[in-house]
Amino acid sequence: MHRFANPNRFLKLANAILPWSNGVLVVSLLAGLALALVWSPGDYQQGDTVRIMYVHVPAAWMGMFAYVAMAVASAVALIWKHPLADLAGRATAPVGAAFTFVCLVTGALWGKPMWGTWWVWDARLTSMLILLFLYFGYMALHNAFDDPQRGAKAAAVLALVGVVNVPIIKFSVDWWNTLHQPASVVRMDGPAVDPSMLWPLLVMGLAFKAFYVSVVLLRIKAEIADAKIRALRMSEIHG
């Protein structure tokens, strides 16, 4: 439990933030859902299926955001050896993976009525799929060692290697996609988004962000508790 030694300050901060992030989460989620499901118009082509977008797009944002956050935490952990950064990276990964997974599932659900098929090798969906594998690799590496410190450090290096690669992968997939994809596919970024759709989208984005903050803080608190338990056990064994 080396040097998470001083979690007290963090715990104080986390306990101060949590009520706020929870509050923002509840309010923005309710408002966002109401805007998205009731008050926003259906698309003139897609009808009500367009409402999937209000979950799909924020999930995609958060999937990418969480990976960058994880990489930043890893860099901090490696360079300044800040103990909480390790925990933050570890806590972020499953959340980011879940967002990415939600993005893929909603993409498939959206694809069925739009493209007539569950899966299309659309450049964005493909990139998200690869991102999901990067998350899986990070989590698997984190848990692959008997010494948690070693797992944390190895995973941190992997996250940095990954974040350098993400733009390269994205660029490659875009290139590959333009070669192979018939141009008639409906792209999600088609015409500029109408304000009546943009607002619900942004509110949902805020809700997802608040959810992320709350869950990651809770997970870090849980990790600290876990580390304390391990330290107690350790001192029982070794005195």
């Binding site: 690799g137 692959a144 070693r150 290096v157 690669n165 660029f171 997939v173 290139w175």
Partner: protein, 221 residues
């Protein structure tokens, strides 16, 4: 520089005396490619269409096959401790080991690839580009793979884990490698793809030995 050569010479000597690693990699490559006609049918049209993709996918699986041994034996017999203590940047040692690894596994793949291309009815227009793309692409695979191999040292189920870490990072090489060959076969310009692959090689040459060194230091700690 001398130290770099010393590392390459040692690893080549080890590989040659222990033998079989290169043979296994090539055997895996050949066998997997031979499986494809059974899977997709022997019509030359289909095979011709998928040839570039099949060759690249199997090549990157084959080059990954031998990766987990890259640092494993040094890690187990204590040599890695001593290598990280050598009075030179660890990335130089990594570079030497990767170079030796590529010479013993990547190079044989390049030599075997044209033969397999014939078996898959690839248009002969693509042969030169196939070799060129592989020559630029396989060192990149070895460099990226080295990072993964260093990260999984001492891990449970290292081999399986390695593929989970490394395969997603191989995708760009795969995309441009296949694309270059397809372009050449169809009579299009293919230089852009090769240049991009060259750029990827240079980037990984600059970053991967450093990242691998960091991972190795963690592994011996």
């Amino acid at each position: 520089m001398n130290a770099l050569l010393a590392v390459i010479r040692r690893d080549l000597r080890l590989a040659l005396r222990q033998g079989s690693d290169s043979m296994m990699v090539v055997a895996f490559f050949v066998l997997t490619v031979v499986l494809f006609p059974f899977g997709v049918g022997p019509e030359s049209g289909i095979l011709e269409r998928v040839a570039a993709g099949v060759l690249w996918v199997t090549a990157l699986l084959a080059s990954m096959l031998s990766l987990d041994r890259l640092f494993q034996t040094d890690y187990e017999d204590g040599s890695l401790d001593l290598l990280t203590m050598a009075p030179m940047p660890l990335s130089v040692i990594v570079l030497g080991k990767v170079a030796a690894h590529w010479l013993t596994t990547g190079l044989p793949l390049i030599l075997a690839a044209p033969v397999l291309a014939v078996l898959l009815n690839m248009n002969s227009e693509g042969f030169g580009v196939l070799i060129a793309a592989m020559a630029v692409g396989t060192p990149t695979l070895s460099l990226i793979g080295a990072v993964g191999a260093a990260l999984v040292l001492g891990a449970r189920r290292g081999g399986v884990l390695l593929s989970l870490l490394v395969l997603p990072l191989y995708i760009p090489v795969l995309i441009f490698g296949v694309s270059a060959i397809d372009a050449a076969v169809m009579g299009f310009e293919y230089r852009a793809q090769l240049l991009i692959m060259g750029a990827m090689l240079l980037v990984s040459l600059a970053l991967c030995p450093w990242a691998t060194g960091a991972a190795l230091r963690q592994a011996v700690e």
